[in-house]
């Protein structure tokens, strides 16, 4: 039946999602000293989208603003960004890459693309494009519903133990 096949697809996708952390860790290992992955994300997003406020950055990072605040403080301490006052709202701060930040961004791009070129050198252009497109779509599917938290499925109709976790 089609439903059964679809759930097996989800199972398999779930396994790939679980194992995908290894890829991100590997990418993290090539980062420059002092620049952890959180810092790299801040610099990369500012380079991609331009100056923005904390709240906007938190949204793009898809993490709580408290986390964003810590990452931004770390990056600002190292001189890669500056925090300008927002003339429209004195509670807010505008984040902007410094010249040193742009240099770091170029270095990050160089290292990342080099590693990906090493690992994906034998991929067809179509496959790279497809993977990027499908990952973006999956992420968008999770972003969209971030307001409403994920719901659990209804409990099993069977009369078996339903919550093995809370033993």
């Amino acid at each position: 039946m089609a439903v059964q096949a679809r759930y097996e697809q989800y199972e398999e996708l779930s396994r790939q999602l679980g194992a995908f952390g290894a890829v991100k860790r590997e990418l993290g290992r090539i980062l420059p000293s002092e620049c952890a992955s959180g810092s790299a994300a801040v610099v990369t997003l500012l380079g991609r989208h331009g100056d923005m406020r904390m709240s906007k950055l938190a949204e793009l990072l898809a993490v709580d603003m408290s986390v964003t605040s810590r990452h931004v403080a770390h990056v600002a301490e190292r001189g890669w960004i500056e925090r300008l006052p927002d003339p429209a709202d004195r509670r807010s701060r505008i984040l902007r890459l410094t010249p040193e930040g742009h240099l770091l961004l170029a270095e990050l791009s160089r290292r990342t693309t080099h590693l990906l070129a090493e690992r994906l050198g034998d991929w067809s252009e179509e496959d790279v494009t497809q993977l990027t497109r499908l990952m973006a779509r999956l992420r968008a599917g999770f972003d969209d519903c971030r307001a409403l938290p994920p719901r659990l499925p209804p409990p099993e109709p069977q009369t078996t133990t339903r919550t093995p976790a809370t033993t």
Copy 2:
């Protein structure tokens, strides 16, 4: 030129990889109490591949054995797996799911597939299959070369500051 286009593909893929943490965090939020994502990975891999030794599990998890040891201890304390002596090597231990572990595995599968069904319900079967296939291939590309650590690209030929990180 083609090389330039390829590097732009890598840039875009890199951004998607960076933003992908949000998907994994969302999947982590639906886990049962006491079962963190590390525990879920252990149970899932044992269910998928059957009984195995610590070293094999560490390889499948793609993390250091010390990390594996901690996750396994957590899972064993909750009765989801047992650690049997290995008759072939007394240093080693064979990991096996308990009946409670199988119940937990079923519950994990139920919750994960439900969430994916909610988020990917409008995807074509081809797209789901493609994404799974390409993620597996990308991960394999990183797994294969895990023995040799990722190498950094050669320094820029230009006479600019090459290491903005070590300011």
